[in-house]
Symmetry: D2
Subunit: 400 residues, 4 copies
């Protein structure tokens, strides 16, 4: 496939339907949860997902076998951006974090039994899920190898103990995928295992829901305690001690799907700013004719266009099955920062309206900030990008 | 007074006491309002102000005649920064917006009767006040001359009609200073008059409290309707048709006192980041030894130090009674943007903690954003700075 | 052609050969002109072009009919970047400005006779050319419509009068393509015509060669006077009064080919910085392990990768024959600024070496700055980007 | 001395005379050296210094005992900025680097005999000097402790061996102050000694003059070899092994005087941009009324004003004799970067003119870039600023 940016017809159709669906069905529902999707009511989620199914846009990333539309990442890039235009859009299409990433992980790694039990209802929107990896300091954070939660061998299974926080979607989830250490100790680069834990396991407790700047993830972010949490051998997801490798399976694409949805947020913010600039006058002319406003509008167009191009590049590399860590790190850094700039400019252009609850901008402003931290802060990714570039430079020299 | 940066002894003493007072009395109360000062309870305000009086730091900006410490702007710059270290600090010292600016305006412009009635209790913290100038589009906003609210001559007084929004502190205020047009029409550079309107005037109604990104101003921001609001001649503040000139009396210094308080916010955020960087390790060393973190910490020190220097410069010009519009515009732009950068970096350094409610950073992050818009958006000030610079260049050339 | 970033095999082969050719043949010649390509000797140009022909990489953008490799813009993007790795590379491949853009313009617009006379030797590297559009203030600059040079109808031809400057490659060119006004006056959006003028026409004189920050264009930039310059009807390129439209034919792709070559410059600078960071130590460790250096290296990788992605996007749109003004403006702004950032960081990383003539960085630093001004300054393009975005927003609303 | 920004009368007078002198005498001479001060002719230097003496502005920083005006750093800040308005101004006032810093060092550290021999003619402009510290990698650079040049004890004196580069003003200097290691080895924090070495010492040779981006330092930057360079005991400047401490005596203020002169450069660039914006029209209005141009002009005013304020702060701390490393690092980082931004914007506003030799901007652009590297690159200073801030935070906590 040579260089090309044509969107294939099927994907373009789904994207078009998604755009209409978001505009006509989803955005009008935004008031229903007053922007606070964290605490959004379950009936709203059901209603939106039913409507998405009817519109033919439900579960675009999920394999046909599990009821989805089976798009690859390049296709998802187009459709998820359209969905992300409303903070409720991804929820409606069942492609919001963390369910979307968990679905992908289960499709790739789970056994048939595990798929029937966990994947099928998740893909159908009947259940929700969470991914329990991050721990309070000094545990697993930007550096996953700091993992402290342990899973100890017991007869016929494992005993899990530890504390997790910032576990998105935990409140209301039917199950958790929990990362625990089965060998080695904090700092070791291996020795982690993933476990599937049903929400009714008495050893897993939600300690509290954390108040966060963002409010757009259904179920919010929770702190979870695993205390003497017993699970059987069938709870192991994939192979023992291979957890860090599976985490990469999940996190590479998950970073990209985040970027896709945020691009939709950025486009929404920019469209609000464009409309405002076209309508509102100051000092005797429309804002849209003031040079400093034009500069902000242009910079946001540039941010969105470049962000999309570099994101598609990374998605395409992943779709080819190539090692794409450098591409995904670059896309994650660039898009998360570009999206923040776009929303910040939109707030500025809209002035008082931008910081009031009368427009969705103040919600979007709160929403996008954490994404420069979630899924690896920009600094961690920059560090990785530089290391890879230096290594490549050394290798180039070595071969000459 | 040649170039100098020594803080005089009396001011230094007040600042030292303020710093201690904030650390020992104010910060422990922050939990009491859970960061949402908007809706903070009146008893909290009373308690804090009593404590400030006891600590000898109450009303630093108010003339001794009215029970204050009588500091000039350079002195205020030092003390208000210390107070701003907590979002509740300025409230405690009775030097929060909008009361602090209104106090100043009344000291300069009001008649003796008006001072006894409105200034004395306000300076003492017995009442609160608001300044009703900003209107919804297409009224007075970044461009005050767009003023649409009218005051019509009636027998023995005036009849005021119009709509105001983003009126800070209106909810609970004992009186409003309302800007209304007594001659000319929207767009005219003159013709505005200020009126003192008691809260129990039946023609003034709070329509709603506006949900905003910031939550740190006691009383929040309201939308207010003036409908057939009758006032007597004694309600006129200063002279008829001179409202825009008085607004400058209020807004020049008020911009600077905002900057002082925000610098305190920036210092708070940076201190949290410094402590975190000193304590927390990642990838095997303290954050404080990672180059990218050092860069953020250094940039924030630079922002605070340069912001303070340029702010003091503008304050000194105002204290000399010189025309200082260029200096105050520059300080407003620079400090408001620098403060935003500092808080943003602190959030980034603190990671998950930075965006959770477990540290005050997420509150500070929301708090500082609107200040690039309030009191004249950066763009309006930049436009004015450029125009003055071009004019000066033309004059320089003309005289050679 | 769906979304894809594969480079097709033929292009990849040419690019690989170009990379080798630049490394082994071109870079060693850089000393020969001491970085000052402006005043580079003609024998060097001949020698390099002969070598490029032998390496099978000569004239990649030129149609096979005229002796070139016939690549479309996407193909050129890959090969020109490889060529741009040395400031002499594009000269060697005969794809440097302004000849490359003129070749394209002649292929599209010229008559068969004009092609034989001007295009054939130009494509073969036997001659050079220039494009005479820009005028000193208040003439045609960022705003081409300000065109003041006139062409007056005379018997059997035209009489051209005017002054041009910043005419790249004029010194030594065999002919100029001159833009002159055949109807209307300065400010009118139409009325321009292109003329082919042989260098030996006595009415065209090079007034001076302009000293500029950049030194990388063979022949430099000249000021030219047209005084009573007579040409016959056969000198008209395309149709009378259609000059502005043809300028777009030339300038859209020419902007993109500039970007391609600059990306090569950026890659060169970054590679020098990477090698330096890998080799040199400070404060007891390799520069490459210092966080602030890593941040600069990572940001440059991001700039190059995003720049390339957005450039390819614009090239692809042009290759499809679609209106791509928004895409090309965005790519021009972004790439020209990104390239400046990359070179600036490389200078900083290399320290004293970066600003001395001992490494090529100080040359590259001077070279890239003007490209934020040439071919439309960033501000003009931003203005156009914003206007198009606002217009699109208005249309979207109109259709709903 | 409380907070104040008044310039005292005597200083204001000198500054006024300097401004006039630069405008009327110095700027007209700029053509004489075609911007390349590096290779400026000695008669030009003599002529300019005689004129400065006549104008009563010669040697503002030098003690009266040595024929100067004896200003403290705050006074110098005002006068040097006025001098820096032309790249030749500091040369004319005999306050250019490196002589100005060497003068200061000799005044503080030299013996009476050394002062008579070296300081008196230097202060009078009869001789020039250089400061030989920086070495090629892996020697003393950003990290002075990497010093490799050695001074070995011999009978009645010392034998110096080593290689230095980027030694400003060496070509034509009457003597060098050379930093050499008298104990310890590369990396040790002590053990350096300063030596005064006359230019006719056969053991000191200028190897070459280095081609650099900047061209504004008289004498340029040279590479120097010390090979078996014998000096007597009277050549030791200050005490043996105290060289690093004296370097701080020189470098702290020298950094600030650099900043003063660069602010003058920034002011010059901004004034050129302001005049251009006032005169030139594009798209039907003066550049000065285009919002994006206004933004650039305003940002440059902000950069200059904040830079000046933070610089004065650091100067005042030094004048008080307080430890001011944090203040001077911050001022150095901020001013050097701000000056680069200002000149870059001026280039952009002036367009083609900005990058041609027809205006001095392209010279200024080349001139200011290295100052983000000279005297400690921004990164080294940022690292130091962060370390001090973290240390202070730790101490604050310790004492509570």
């Amino acid at each position: 496939m040579p260089i090309g940016f044509e969107i294939d017809e099927r994907v373009a159709g789904i994207a078009r339907r998604t755009t209409e669906f978001v505009r006509e069905v989803v955005i009008p529902e935004e008031q229903a949860c007053d922007g606070d999707v964290h605490a959004g009511p379950e009936p709203l989620r059901r209603r939106l997902q039913d409507a998405a199914r009817e519109a033919g846009v439900f579960a675009p990333h999920v394999g046909a076998e599990w009821g989805g539309l089976g798009l690859d990442l390049c296709g998802q890039a187009v459709v998820f951006e359209a969905a992300g235009y409303s903070l409720l859009g991804p929820l409606a299409l069942n492609c919001a974090a963390p369910d979307e990433g968990n679905t992908h992980l289960l499709e790739v790694v789970a056994t048939e039994e595990q798929k029937e039990r966990y994947l099928r209802p998740l893909a159908a929107g009947e259940t929700r899920s969470c991914f329990a990896m991050t721990e309070p300091a000094p545990g697993a954070g930007s550096d996953p190898r700091a993992l402290t939660t342990t899973a100890t061998r017991i007869d016929g299974g494992w005993l899990i103990d530890g504390r997790k926080w910032f576990i998105s979607g935990a409140d209301g989830a039917a199950f958790a995928i929990c990362m625990a250490r089965t060998s080695g100790g904090p700092g070791d680069p291996g020795g982690a295992t993933m476990f599937l834990i049903a929400a009714d396991n008495p050893g897993m407790k939600i300690v509290r829901n954390i108040d966060t700047l963002d409010q757009g993830l259904f179920g919010g972010h929770s702190e979870i305690a695993f205390e003497g949490c017993e699970v059987g051998d069938e709870a192991v997801l994939g192979e023992v001690d291979q957890g860090f490798a599976y985490a990469q399976v999940r996190l590479g694409p998950a970073r990209m799907t985040h970027c896709m949805r945020w691009l939709g947020v950025a486009r929404r913010a920019q469209d609000i700013a464009l409309e405002r600039a076209a309508d509102r006058s100051a000092f005797g002319k429309p804002l849209a004719e003031l040079g400093m406003v034009q500069q902000m509008l242009a910079d946001s167009e540039i941010d969105i266009e470049t962000g999309r191009a570099v994101l598609w590049r990374a998605c395409w590399e992943l779709d080819q099955g190539r090692p794409a860590a450098q591409h995904t790190s670059i896309a994650k850094i660039y898009v998360s920062e570009a999206v923040n700039r776009v929303v910040d400019r939109a707030v500025q252009i809209c002035g008082a309206l931008g910081i009031s609850g009368d427009a969705p901008l103040s919600r979007l402003y709160r929403e996008v900030r954490p994404f420069r931290i979630y899924d690896g802060p920009s600094e961690t990714h920059r560090w990785a990008v530089a290391k890879r570039a230096v290594r490549a430079a050394r290798e180039r020299r070595g071969t000459r």
